[in-house]
Symmetry: C2
Subunit: 675 residues, 2 copies
């Protein structure tokens, strides 16, 4: 009863806050509301500051539709499954003595944590009483399990107390991972509601670790990085230096814990982060470690960290990233492969790894204001991440291949032979997508001392302020990414000189930019922010016109599977051929694309297809005879080229694949030139 | 003392046998000597009968050199390491109470077994007293451990008695695998020496299984197939039907043992063999299961078996075999991939899988006399198997990639970052290569009711007889595979009409065949046996002239990594580019091959290089700029072709790679046509 009452009280506070109608988002003593997805307001090495999620309202459009699906379909349905699989009972059996066995893998506590974080992100955009109530009840279930010491991990309470927090347990047991997600979730929930209960519990657990573990105390290890991000964010939230120091200690590795080289490589932890020279091991761990290390850099400015981060980033984007932004070439170890090892059908490209990539690039962007990070972030968001949730919001990809014959190994993660599934016992991906879509408004803008950065384009309204406190509203009207026109209306509270940094994506060519006062602006270099410095009056407009002509992309010849193949990109979207869209009796496996010639692309917006997409038609060949009828190996006949009949290829955006019957799909298509 | 004395006695018998100078290999009551690598003399569904190993003497030449290395370097050096790693002590600690811990994985007993088998195969070609003495002593060490029941497995004696032969143990514990190898080794040793001690011990273990396990007894399972081959060969050796029935029961799977689908797939066991529809799972297990199933077919003629075997073979050679004959695309599970999934740098292609492929194709050949099986056997033998042992005989490949940058994952099987290693804790491959090279003479010929089949070409002498008992000597003189001329001298004891089946390999074109009496013979169709029926007089000759012009081979476009690439084949040998042979400052990764034009190949025999090889020079391109300097993804410039400067490419046989410093290598080379 008491709990329910408190819940109603804090709900009241929240609703009051939401309905207060902040004028330009300031003059607000509720500091918890304005901290962004990462709170960089006091980070000395952050060039950019975050804009809180609540300050950006995404309207009808590309992401509005996906976010609606996430909050109305995905979040409720995955909750039912989390409950049905006993992952909340894992708490109840300890606090309420519910007589059920513990269920699922060692790290199941993080699934409710991430789910609450997803809810918290959406609550920052507006109330969802039914979700908030579940979140609040679940927080109570969680906190009820916490021991007086602060310890909280359902796997190591009860039967396995003696194993907890030992070096070997930290290597494999995911206690560090649970605490990391608990911190991220609790901070997000606090930023959504001002309610400290979950935050206080997570802080108590962090305090316990900070008190007993460290250089002159017991050794600690991040067996699955994420705690580094959590601790730095706790430092940003509380100002308590101990958490930053603990993050630094963990990033540095404790030499007292000896582990086989394979684990050090696989976990991306245990040796000084600054000794890493290339991307390797478990892709999600690597991305979370790099994100945490960037957080640490943003607070400390340690140049060794920056050099390492820059090297690792170059290694990733130049040799180990799929064109979709997917990360992790290997099924073995869910891991990065060697340089240029990017198989298509056997890609792993775990959804969570791309989400980790978004987190990392967001932090690298904050440190520099450099558009190359936003380019990668956008690539990942629209393609590798977005593909992870079905159009109806109820099925998820764990792995994201760039090619399939339509048949999926039945031994894939709990897949039962399908690529999209409602549930995985290792549930990391679904709530991870939900929290990313929930946080999305927070990725659209940043502030700098001299103005505002516009990172992403979608129908939306910003209601925030410049760093000097001047209120600022910005409205975007656009059909992006289906069309390339974006109208940005800039309305400072009063006329004000500042710089508007408008992102010109790296994939663009010849972007036209004009403002209310200038018919044509120079300098819109692809892969940069165009700095428009002027005195802005309320209602001033910037018009962007991106050339959305589809383009064929080749890869480095060292990517063996893509040799002499091309992919199709239109705007930020990578496209693919999926069997249902192709002419009858032509297998996707036998289709080739004709050389790029002006006017051969034909785009068509199909509101009726796959939630509304722009398809691209293109001239190509259907090879004859079909390759299935050819021998595995045969002598080259130099005078003979593969022949075929002309067919029209129809491409759909990669993110929309596998939403119909299981069928063949491929991103990289043979380029018929020269055959 | 007693043992030593007996050893000397049986050694004496052996030497007497060897020196008796059989006239045409018959009139011999020592039946054990004449049973071949598999004894098909009474197998009702064998079209061909084996010729014993001792009947063929391989002289100086390609295989003579490799066999000399195997018996003089590899076998002695690997024995020292088997001892040093305690794999024989695993027996001594039980029989002699030697106070050492058990060493190595669960299946280490099979390493001495396979080593003894390798020795036994070489003993069939002539005495090696020092090796025979070690083998004999080791057999005593082994037999001393056997329990009165017949049970013998060092892992499950002593501490783990309670676990033995339980369904879960059979799934993972390799007791079945140990018995299978024990049977193969003991039979080979018996066929080499007539000594029954090891054979009797293996038979006692088999009797124990046959007595207690079966349809109406306790359930049995082959967690790692090989026991099927062992039991059928024991049936052939003893005539006892129980062993054949037990093999059939195991091949059929016992439905009482329930296992997850993944294990059934992975182990290639546990469901009726005849329900298999495609090649899948652990490649070595699959090959051994198929070999055992073919053995079973050769005895029973069950048409369901044949249909399954034919389907599986077609699936393998049409969609899942590397051009080297390597098998197993995936590191995960050391397994077959999907159809056409044949990555080059990430190929697994375990040496043992190709050896299993040789065993299987040998049995399929025996059932049919069909040269397509010999073609695959030859491909595997010269390339995938032969690459597995270094030129000095002291280093081994466990995995056999078709491409490398020269850097090897340090997390590869005990590799320490090198592709060839003297030792692997999982030691299967080295003694497996040794026993294959030891058995090689037995693969060169078969008899049929109407004559003799010549399968393989090398300098050698056959001293055997036709199935009707007519003595027959055959001598081959050739420089094969370096040159294509083979002179076969056929000498029956008296003039005799029979058919000489001369193999025309599938890779040939326009082979010239002539005999003493015929200047030119028609019908030498590639991939067939040319049947030469005539009355043969002692000293009659057949001259073969294979066209050894190097050829460029393409693969099915569905093999993604090989699209628009070619490989070079000359005779039975697949070639590769290795960095040390190329011009300075040109990376193998940037080399392309120019279109096939007459006369552009230039061959050169280099007696000084890599043990003596024929290298092939060819005109090609070195791309500029080097691919390492190009972006990972970039817009296609349709008018631009990749340009490069002309360079000479130098190819070496694939089997000889990685015998110098670690360096880049690739089999599949971009084909510059059309660029």
């Amino acid at each position: 009863m008491k709990r329910g009452a408190r819940g109603l009280v804090s709900l009241g506070i929240l609703l009051a806050g939401l309905s207060a109608g902040y004028v330009y988002g300031q003059a607000n003593d509720q500091a918890w509301r304005d901290q962004g997805i990462v709170n960089l307001n006091k980070s000395p090495y952050a060039k950019l500051h975050s804009v809180p999620v609540h300050a950006v309202t995404i309207g009808d459009g590309f992401w509005g539709q996906r976010r609606k699906t996430a909050v109305e379909k995905s979040i409720p349905s995955i909750w039912q499954l989390i409950e049905a699989h006993g992952y909340v009972d894992n708490f109840r059996r300890l606090s309420k003595g519910k007589n059920v066995p513990r269920k699922g893998p060692v790290f199941t506590d993080t699934d409710p944590y991430k789910w609450i974080e997803a809810v918290a992100m959406f609550l920052q955009s507006g109330d969802r009483p039914e979700l908030r109530m579940i979140a609040e009840q679940t927080i109570d279930e969680i906190v009820a399990v916490q021991e007086p010491s602060g310890y909280l991990d359902t796997y190591f309470q009860g039967d396995r107390v003696k194993d907890r927090l030992l070096p070997a347990t930290l290597d494999y047991g995911h206690e560090d991972y649970s605490l990391g997600h608990m911190l991220q979730s609790a901070i997000a929930y606090y930023r959504a509601t001002g309610d400290r209960k979950f935050l206080d519990a997570a802080t108590r657990f962090a305090d316990y670790i900070a008190r007993d573990f460290g250089p002159d105390k017991k050794p600690f290890l991040a067996g699955h990085p994420v705690i580094e991000m959590g601790l730095v964010e706790l430092y940003r939230t509380t100002g308590d230096q101990r958490y930053l120091d603990l993050a630094g200690y963990i990033l540095n590795g404790d030499p007292r814990i000896e582990r086989p080289p394979y684990r050090v490589m696989y976990t991306f932890s245990g040796i000084p982060f600054t000794e890493r020279t290339h991307m390797q091991g478990h892709a999600v761990r690597a991305m979370y470690a790099c994100s945490g290390a960037t957080d640490y850099y943003l607070e400390t400015g340690d140049p060794k960290y920056w050099r390492t981060l820059e090297n690792l980033w170059q290694d990733t984007v130049n040799t180990k990233m799929y064109i979709t932004g997917g990360l992790g070439a290997r099924w073995e170890g869910e891991a990065f492969g060697d340089a240029y090892e990017l198989p298509n059908a056997r890609s792993y490209a775990e959804t969570c790894a791309a989400i980790g990539g978004v987190m990392w690039n967001w932090r690298m962007l904050a440190a520099t204001g450099d558009a190359r990070f936003t380019d990668v972030l956008e690539r990942m968001l629209y393609n590798a991440v977005n593909a992870g949730m079905s159009l109806d919001g109820k099925l998820y990809c764990y792995v994201n291949p760039l090619e399939t014959s339509g048949k999926v190994d039945p031994d894939r993660h709990g897949s039962g032979g399908t690529i999209r599934n409602p549930w995985y016992d290792v549930l990391c991906c679904p709530p991870n997508i939900e929290r990313t879509l929930g946080a999305l408004p927070g990725y659209m803008y940043s502030t700098s001392p001299d103005g505002l950065y516009v990172h992403l384009y979608d129908n939306s309204r910003l209601d925030w302020h410049l760093q000097d406190g001047t209120g600022l509203k910005v409205e975007q009207k656009t059909g992006y990414p289906w069309d390339g026109n974006v109208e940005i209306t800039v309305s400072p509270a009063t006329e004000k000189e500042f710089t508007l940094y408008v992102r010109i994506p790296g994939w663009t060519k010849g972007t036209k930019v004009r403002t209310t006062t200038q018919a044509s602006l120079e300098g819109g270099k692809p892969g940069s922010y165009l700095a428009i410095r002027r005195s802005w009056k309320p209602g001033d407009k910037v018009q962007l016109e991106f050339d959305m002509t589809a383009r064929l992309i080749a890869s480095n010849p060292k990517v063996q599977e893509n040799a002499r193949k091309v992919a199709l990109q239109r705007g930020p979207l990578i496209y693919c051929l999926e069997q249902p869209d192709q002419p009858e009796n032509v297998s996707v496996a036998d289709m080739a694309i004709s050389p790029d010639q002006k006017g051969r692309f034909r785009t068509e917006h199909r509101a009726d297809l796959l939630g509304g997409i722009t398809v691209v038609h293109y001239q190509g060949l259907a090879y004859e005879p079909a390759s299935a009828q050819e021998p595995l190996y045969g002598a080259v006949q130099p005078e003979t080229k593969r022949s075929g009949r002309e067919v029209e290829l129809t491409f759909i955006p990669y993110y929309a694949w596998a939403n119909r019957q299981a069928s063949a799909m491929r991103v990289w298509i043979p380029y018929a030139q020269g055959e």
